[in-house]
């Protein structure tokens, strides 16, 4: 049934429908509405789950690790500084092969203190072995959360469902909430492959010397790669039951596009409007939305971008000393191609700055005028900044 639903509540509804058994989280803006709704649901019995209150995000994820090790379906949510505090245990949860699902609301890292949208928090966790799925709409948030449980439990890796602060987390829009029967069909109860059992005690994750550690890492790499086809398979199931499909990447009017914008998160949505407006004026442009960031869908990205004349990657994130993170990944993906389009990196919307149709217009203008990409990213809408350095 369609309802006007806040993005945060779309996450909570998905967690309810997924019949999660253990929840633990520490509140942080802009994730708060997710866990507020879930704690209400646990308190009033809507969800039959244990909600464990903890003193930090690190502990919240530690609870997840403990609970998942007993074979429970688990969920947590965080943002920004909270995710950074979890860092150590992010590695632990993937290394321990626990199918934990987390909603991560993209928020800028401090200082300066900033609660607004920025992807650097989740992207700086790209090497932790978590699958990362970026969302564009409230509906996608709900659907992706359901997919995340299915995927995590199939490959035994944790999954992060990523949504923009405020632009998604605090925005109300119509969302179709599926029935419990539909969800049960898509997502059966967890069949755990790791399950501590007092009747048959064992030690987990103890010393792993050099003669085995490398193989353990390689297996994680393999299942990461397998996650690409697994996701595709589950999206097939999902589409059959719910009638919706997203894909690891989603092309929007890319078929004949000379210029393709590569986007993620809510910037995609505005970009779709922008492409429609520009197409109406005869511009041959399209958008490639990247939903799956880890594993990075190299083949799909190559397939959709290889025929474009120019590619512009819009990053609401930045890796200091390098550039936009999606741009780096896209360049690396295209590098193996004999004929590849030039990739222009644009930085926009850091710390919640709005990426408007006008911002996108400026990006298009730059793309049309620039011959070849500068190794440096192009910062959009930037006021003049002095380089602070020693006076000579």
């Amino acid at each position: 049934m369609k309802q006007v639903l806040e993005g945060s509540h779309a996450v909570a509804e998905a967690v309810r429908l997924a019949k999660v058994q253990v929840i633990s989280a520490y509140p942080i803006t802009p994730q708060t509405h997710i866990v507020e709704r879930l704690s209400d649901y646990c308190a009033d019995g809507t969800i039959k789950a244990r909600f464990l209150r903890v003193e930090s995000e690190h502990s919240a994820l530690a609870v997840m690790i403990g609970a998942a090790s007993t074979g429970m379906r688990t969920f947590t949510a965080t943002s920004s500084q909270g995710l950074a505090l979890m860092h150590e245990l992010l590695h632990w949860s993937s290394g321990a092969r626990l199918p934990i699902v987390m909603a991560e609301v993209n928020r800028a890292l401090a200082p300066g203190w900033n609660i607004w949208a920025d992807q650097t928090d989740s992207l700086s966790q790209r090497d932790t072995g978590w699958i990362q799925l970026y969302c564009e709409t409230g509906q996608e948030v709900l659907d992706t959360t359901l997919l995340a449980f299915r995927l995590a439990e199939a490959v035994n890796l944790p999954v992060m469902v990523v949504l923009d602060a405020f632009f998604l987390s605090h925005t109300y829009e119509p969302v179709d909430i599926p029935s419990q029967a539909q969800v049960d069909e898509f997502l059966p109860p967890i069949i755990p492959r790791i399950q501590l059992d007092p009747a048959n005690p064992c030690a987990l994750n103890q010393l792993s010397p050099p003669n085995i550690y490398m193989e353990m890492r390689y297996q994680i790499h393999l299942v990461m790669q397998a996650a690409l086809s697994e996701l595709e398979k589950f999206e097939g199931d999902f589409e059959r039951i719910f009638g919706r499909r997203y894909g690891a990447v989603e092309p929007f009017l890319c078929q004949d596009a000379e210029i393709i914008l590569v986007t993620s998160g809510t910037i995609t949505s505005t970009s779709r409007q922008f492409v429609l407006d520009q197409r109406a004026q005869g511009e041959k442009i399209g958008v490639l939305k990247v939903k799956l960031f880890r594993p990075f869908p190299v083949e799909a990205v190559r397939g959709y971008l290889k025929n474009a004349r120019k590619v512009g990657v819009i990053d609401r994130n930045f890796s200091f000393g390098a550039g936009g993170i999606f741009a780096q990944e896209v360049r690396a993906a295209l590098y193996g191609l004999a004929r590849r389009p030039p990739v222009f990196g644009f930085i926009a919307g850091l710390g919640g700055r709005d990426v408007t149709l006008e911002s996108l217009g400026e990006i298009l203008t730059r793309l049309k005028t620039l011959k070849r990409p500068d190794p440096e990213s192009i910062w959009i809408g930037l006021q003049e900044v002095q380089l602070a350095g020693p006076k000579s």
């Binding site: 092969r97 035994n156 987990l204 010393l207 353990m216 297996q219 393999l222 299942v223 397998a226």
Partner: protein, 587 residues
Amino acid sequence: MKAKNNSIRLPERLLISRSYTTSESNKTGSWRYLMPRYYEKTAPCSVACPAAEDIGRIQMLNTQGFFKEAWDTILVENPFPAVCGRICFHPCEKVCNRGRFDEAVSIRALERFVADTAQRYKLTSGIEPMAFTGKRIAVVGAGPAGLAAAHFLHLLGYDCHVFEALPEPGGILRWGLPRYRLPLAALQPEIERIRNSGVSIYCGQAVGRDFLHSAGETYGAVFMACGAQRMPLLRIPGEDLPGISEGLAFLCSVAQGGGPGFQGTAAVIGGGNTAVDVARCLRRLGARAMIIYRRRREDMPAFAEEIELALLEGVELLELYAPIRIEKEGNGLRLTLQQMKIGAMGADGRMRVVPDENRIRELTVDQVFKAIGFEAAEPWHVPEAGAVSHLKLRQAVLTQGANSVPVVYCGDPVTEIQSVVHAVASAKEGAMALHVLLTGGTAAVAETLAAAAVGPGGSLSMEAFLKGERLNRSSHVVAYEEINIDHFQYAPRMIQPRLLQAERVASFAEIDLKISAGMAIREAERCFNCGLCNQCDNCRLFCPDLAVRQEDSKRGRRIDYDYCKGCGICVVECPRNAMVLEEEQDS
């Protein structure tokens, strides 16, 4: 394992480290070449205490709220916790290892707290005396030494008759100590406890010299505990003028009835506790009191804390003045004082004083009190030189005439320092020695007593003498460096609550006020419990091999040597050196 690009199959088996084997199969004990074990040691306070009180254990019991057990632990070594908890000069606190960390534990105040608690709840001691030996012993004098001797002899299985010349028992405690230091209400229950344990005290029964010879008909031995009450002469002109009194007699009259009001000026000659007590009593009676001492304040035998309190109460102190003459002047007395100065270091380590040329000072007062120390009142109160067997112990003398019963001399005439706790130590030593003499002969005395010594200091433990648990401890005295101070937090020493300064001289009410159980427990928690296991559990918590096991025993834990690899962490992390790491014995 090979990655194929398009259709990667999920692996059937998760590659994670997971073990169903118990780590107990790895008997790490086989690695061991050093072996830890529990081995309790000796705390410096218990060595410094002449009565060898087991102070570390007492504080451990206090922290757990076991006040009765703490009280019994004191009583086995000292029958006067309510007294010593108030007036002891606490040599224990001077050597307290905690003093090197922040401040010494307030051991005396805790002893008083335990005694007050026992009195408040009218507790009876749980110490069981040894079986009755069938022997009866006479004790001459019901002062601290005599009463303590009766207490210890009773514990050792003897029937005691105590003879006291004065109408009430207690000696110096009853007659010589001012009430503001030792209230009667604190003293009486201690004497009553000794009496109730089965000791007969006969008051108003002066004993003469002949008794030493006739006692054998009734008694198996005689304990001489007559104390020292006679004041030596000043040996200056005018010392027998009217208006000149002896300090102890004055204190006795104050103890009996509070003494008359006194408005004038009084000079007190002397530097011991009696001099200070006299001066402070005079202040309470309304007089101006001046202590005249021939040496400096720091040389005074009186306890420093008592001097400090006396000065706060308005007592004046004239240091480095020796009286050379007393004359009558009108209704008063004129004192002629010789100014003294510091001379060379004496053989005893004290600075000698010598007259400072002809510098003389005169002083007119209404009354003069002499308080320059005491000696035995009668010659037969001290050991007879011609005895057949004359065994000089540390704090007592054991003699046996040719045809008479053994006579033990204890208390002030034979102790190195005249104090209550020394009297107790003396009585204990004498009682032990007598018991060995009567059961094993003279030859066994020295060795048997040495076995009951606590540390190298010579303080004797009755608990150890009775083959108690203290015998299991090493005589090694725990040094501050052996305490693992990482396990302790700074905490200031408790502040003894006292009467307001202005109220002190207004009455003879006790100055030191009671402390609460909470305060006592907090203070007892400051104790390092040097060398003693206080069940802190660090050995178990720190053991990396879980080789320290809990068990239902007195210690509560044991080392499982199947798994103890001898790393020694338990010994290092024992905060109080109650463990030892030794080389593995070949089995």
